[in-house]
Amino acid sequence: MQQQFPMRTRLRTIGDHIATFLAVFSTILVILPLVAIFVYLLLKGARSLNLAFFTQIPKPVGESGGGMANAVVGSVVLLVIASVLGVPIGIGGGVYLAEFGRGTKLSNAIRFTADVLNGVPSIVMGLAAYALIVVPEKHFSALSGGVALGIMMIPTICRTTEEMLLMVPHSVREAALGLGVPNWRSVLSITVRTASPGIITGCMLAFARVAGETAPLLFTALGNDFWSTNLNQPIAALPLQIYVYALSPYDDWHRLAWAASLVLIVLIVLAVSLVRYVTGRGVLKGAS
């Protein structure tokens, strides 16, 4: 054949090269922005990073030095609240959509709501948390900020959980039911477990997305220049601190804002890697 159609073979080889090149090129395009941002942050922020950044709270205007220890802790507190709220509700909703409520009116309503919620601007989420928690309590609080972020996590987690569960082959469900396992047990121990890598990815996506959110925190967590881990008091957060410092007229604060951006990205990467490492090792653990 090759002898008969040398031209066609050559064209095919060239086509193969072009396709491979395009695929590699696209991959580079995807990775490039992340690498560019990271390198830029390293260049701009790394110089201002020192021990004080992680141990001190911000200095008053005019004094140099100081750090963002309170904002780092504050971000962690807010993200823990958000995850405690968003992950169980999101996964629970996704399990309902995929396993129990298939085709029901309620599940269609939930799916529609989740999709709309996903498109709601984050500042509106902040307003909702403001109206629901800040106004009745009459003060800004870490709790309200965490709730605003948590609500933002729910639709992403809910829909990815549903998608991932629907990808579990029907034969795996049948295998469990065929063993005389009750449906709820089969769903929890077999289907959810089989889909868990994808579900965890969904949770991580939602987590990384809200970790950088500023708008929902503006009138909920508010920000705080002092140490506070009290859930009923305003709390500092890295995105808020970056927002305030970047808009300030002081060079010193600008440098700290760069450093804070770098820390925020590194924290997200660390959190995502840690979860992947811990859950990845559990793949072959016992059935119950």
Partner: protein, 252 residues
Amino acid sequence: MGVGIEVANLNAWYGTNHTLQDITLNIPANHATALIGPSGCGKSTFVRCLNRMHETNPVARVTGTVRMGDLDIYQGATPVEVRRRVGMVFQRPNPFPTMSVYDNVAAGLKLNGYSNRKSLDEVVEKSLKNSALWDEVKDDLKKKSGASLSGGQQQRLCIARALAVDPEVLLMDEPASALDPVSTSKIEDLIFQLKSQYTIVIVTHNMQQAARVAEKTGFFLNGRMVEFDSTHKIFTNPSDKRTEDYITGRFG
């Protein structure tokens, strides 16, 4: 020990599609019974009615009676109770992909709340020996994933998983159709050994397979059971013209 199965006037529907019509037969205890027939004739639906897997499809409906020993599976029991007494092996090997070989076999017991470690070990070993897989996996029971075995090994793993819950009946829906000839013959040897302890119902497209492993054979066509008799009679001297046409390869 296995129990006999008495099926009377069994009808099944998928939506408006009447897939099984007035099936009546007695499946003997501790024997292998083969069901043959062309694709879409209802034999898979029939075995799925025997462990109430049929009704996991929301549009499915069943009427008639199925008795296993003293149990009327559609009157006196829940689907979960029925399936604990009736093991099932599917057409494609379907081990739980996230579990080790050990956990796959122990899954039925563990998921039903059984957790005595020592006797679990014994059950796993016994089930894997019964399914002729023990020697191939014993060194790596808890580390090796069930999904990393070959297709034939996976199917024997699925048989071990079904045996571990100690069923009385074993349903096999074309258990060898996705396997190569060597794996197929291993599965057939297994059916031969297992039928002294369990009542086996095997759906097969392969008529030689039915002839090799089963004492009784039923021929299904278009949702009806045309003939049910000893395997020898079905393959040498069938009473019905359609059976003869099918086994001699004139259609199907």
